[in-house]
Subunit: 324 residues, 4 copies
């Protein structure tokens, strides 16, 4: 293998640039040429490709977002689109790919690799931490720290006004961000899609807190739960407990940006490095990961389709710590 | 004057505690006794009052929110409510008050002071910066820095995805936060209530940017504008320019919290100090302020009812800098 | 067991309060009474003890430092001192202890527990991450994030002036902070006590970088290395390479403070919870830890005296990524 | 005037890039061509010059350091050096210059402008805030916020260990950073070059605090004072008060870096904009400034040689607030 390509795809996550930098530096150290494909699969189809060297990724380690940009590409879902992408890669002499992204990225990679026989390895980058095969995904640690910083700020207001705040955090269909923010933010209640928490349980918890003279509450709500979003849940609680002064805050897109944390820089660097070593070593169709501090390979299909549960210990911990 | 009271009221703002600390320290240095009234006017009516000494405000300078808590008090809008409050103050021997808050706070203070003859001076604390008589209000600098930090993060995503982000910031009916964030955040467009910007002007600006090959945009929208909130404006733009990938982010309550910035700690300290000196010096019915780096006194009525315009220079600056 | 005591000792670390909160909340949930011993062993000898309930640790999760304070106690190194401490514990009816601290803390705990037969379990809290038996110690993640934030800032100046910066980070006799900051900060060279790096190797690396047209460099130096501190090393490099514009920055005590990160809040919460469960379950003389995401028990002696090596993977990674 | 040049010189300061961006955007809006001179006067002598357009400064508003780099240039102190610089400017057709920097920068600009008749206007950028003619200089607000963040962290440790911390901040020969950090950080004592504070006064203040049961202290020391640096002062206090547990922390170069604050972004934007307007309007030999919220012009010589005093109100405020 002499030439590899690298791209970022799906929602951006802090640490994508750190991962990209590690891919480029490792490849160069290994004597490979590296090509950056802009805008993910869309750029692959369009041939938006350019050579990358260490200078091109200098001073990018600490930047949020992705230098290579990212996009959705409905065209890549078609065989024609993928054929055009394949033609561009052949034209550039690219013999292997590192895909930095999430489940949509790896779904495409899996099909493309099988169809055209090009080796592809993936580095898991999504703030949602919802990929099986890596304890954490690139961007998750930054996202929860950003969310916690916001939660700490909201608590200032909650305490000052004796209010109940419903804070909605991201997570797609998973409650990883919510549960980490709930423990780290000292929330009085956490609602995640993984557990079938009812409004009644929430109301009971709020009442228990009031019995213990608590006057302000933080309730963390994961997006994507069956009961609806934070607005809906807050409205239902407001109907039941009209004496409460309730506010809602959806943290939104700030959770995706910002300089990556130390842990995300390290994870991204390890995975970028390991991805190139894996490609060179003949791997394909696998997502790299770090499990129990060791580099792991997980077939794309398993990484995408196996659910990564929230550890029972964390669910129990949030119960103990949120009790007053 | 031997005994003074201090309270915070209205929406909490970072720096309220720093102001409170300066009130207590100055009063003690002047040989006065200080009493903290919790929950603003509500606590005054309820007699929720306690002595404060420097130890009570130790290590509070850097805390967001307000140690004394804040609340709304419909009862204080009645003569009966105010009479009960007055009775409590007499009981405690409190001869003067420092009110830390915004326009609602000073509206109440003005009536109360006139009605019962107690000297009251105000320290302007609101993130909205919408009080006449002080170049800046306590909390404004922190709020715009918090908002900018969020805007910087959102820009990471906007750049990575070539998106248009509508970011709604606070400000009540004023565009001070929006204009400062627009300039500081390098926004491509800023919508404030003070200028009658139309959707057509916004669309023209977006089109000019696209003509200059701009692919991502940040539009700052002040809450409280005539065209509706950021969601409404974004929807209308989306109808006109369906090719754009548009997202909305309402920064919300995080703008109220957090450790105050250096400028807010200094402003809060100066105003808390000056408030006590003003009370001791015989002032009443005035809001303290800092204009052109000097302490000023502005009658409550003027502070509340005179509009503080956005400087024409800033409106012009945002135009020049947002042009591509 | 009905009554337990808890104390913090040794250098303060962010997350000590989060750990303390988890100890108190778990103990109360388990029906135990908890007593806080102030100033570590010094307060135990002095009988500086008071009851703690959940309200006492409310809103402490996010605070740096330690509510219970910490101190050195030469007197506790004597049998007389320990006998006085023991007398106080008996007087208060304290039947078990949770010690939050580092190697000095656990050395004392080991002797005391053996001598007087009181069960003691430890929660590892030190920014240095130099305790065997836990992948990470409480405070380490916050310290490296604080250091990285500083390194990012220094790089702004290094780049702007084409300078070489030697940045000294903490770590006691271990290079954990340095190696994590080296990778996360994109350092051009990292010097840790664990590897016998020579000045010649450092100079060779700087020369290689200059050959690749690098004009600014960050060299991370762990305190406690055999070659001396960052000043000494910088001076020796300056003699050999007088053309370089060299500066030194010792990050110092800021690394110990600040709000704990998400990871430290979670780790501290888990370990505080596990410590109480361990005590209740009959454990003694062990340090709790989290290894490979599971709670572990390690005898104090082993935790203190076994060296925790830096992973070979990280040493290799820093080499690959720092090459230009 | 058709073509202008812009450069940064002297120590880097956060906001230099924001100022540069405003220069470029304003110039382009005015129909001028702009050329960036790299490495300050050194690059002017070397002819290291390139055209800048808005795209070149895109996304730089929030970056610390300076895109154009900065350097010292002994050669520019000679008539020969300046003649070479002049030749390059003529060659590029540059008819006016915007100099972004501090007193050294403006000293050179004053001579160069007089010698070769080229109009030069300056934008004050230095963290030290030691230029007469602008209430604040670009970078000052960021530097004090960075320093305060560090001081808040050090206070965690000071409180936890009952220690006295001497924290040295930058400021060149002026105490502006120190006095702002002293008030904002709630310091127990502040030592600035502007006031002849003695060790005896410091010791008296520490003793007064101890009499009031204070157990931890923060003393802010400005660099450049007559009594020596923080190490020296701490050592002398340690001799007199051996019971104190004293530590020293020099904040160092971190104070120069980082994303500029809202206030610095605004100030830099205003000054960059005003600098171009001033050049176009025929100004030369002046430093732009913002005094009492209005743009001002101050002759270089006056800006450099007039001392900007610390406001008496601030010195008094620090006294009142630091008393316990």
């Amino acid at each position: 293998m002499k030439r590899i390509g690298v791209f970022t795809s799906g929602g951006d996550a802090p640490g994508m640039n750190a991962c990209l930098r590690a891919v480029v530096k490792t490849a160069c150290a290994d004597g490979l040429e590296v090509f950056g494909i802009r805008h993910g699969y869309r750029g692959m189809i369009a041939g938006d490709i350019r050579a990358l060297d260490p200078a091109a990724v200098s001073n990018m380690l600490q930047r949020g977002g992705t230098l290579l940009k990212t996009a959705r590409s409905p065209e890549f879902a078609t065989a024609e689109g993928r054929a055009r992408a394949w033609a561009h890669l052949q034209q550039w002499g690219i013999e292997g790919l590192v895909a930095i992204g999430g489940d949509g990225t790896f779904t495409g990679a899996e099909v493309f690799s099988r169809e055209h026989g090009i080796p592809i390895v993936g580095a898991p980058a999504t703030i949602d931490n919802d990929l099986y095969g890596s304890d954490f995904t690139i961007g998750f640690d930054t996202a929860i720290n950003t969310a916690l910083d916001a939660i700490d700020k909201v608590r200032d207001t909650a305490n000052s006004h004796d209010r109940v705040f419903f804070i909605e955090v991201m997570g797609h269909h998973a409650g990883h961000i919510a549960i980490h923010c709930g423990i780290g933010g000292g929330a009085e209640f956490v609602m995640v899609p993984e557990t079938a928490t009812s409004i009644e349980q929430l109301i009971a918890a709020l009442n228990r807190g009031r019995d213990h003279d608590k006057t302000s509450f933080i309730v963390i709500v994961a997006e994507g739960g069956a009961l609806g979003d934070a607005e809906v849940i807050a409205a239902r609680v407001g109907e039941e407990l009209p004496a409460l002064d309730i506010r809602v805050s959806k943290l939104g897109h700030v959770q995706r940006g910002g300089a990556p944390t130390a842990a995300d820089r390290l994870l991204a660097s390890r995975l970028g490095n390991a991805a190139v070593e894996a490609l060179v070593g003949g791997a394909s169709g696998v997502m790299l990961g770090v499990c129990n501090d060791r580099i792991t390979h997980t077939p794309f299909e398993q990484a995408i389709h196996t659910q990564k549960p929230i550890a029972a210990e964390l669910l129990k911990l949030v119960d103990v710590l949120s009790s007053s």
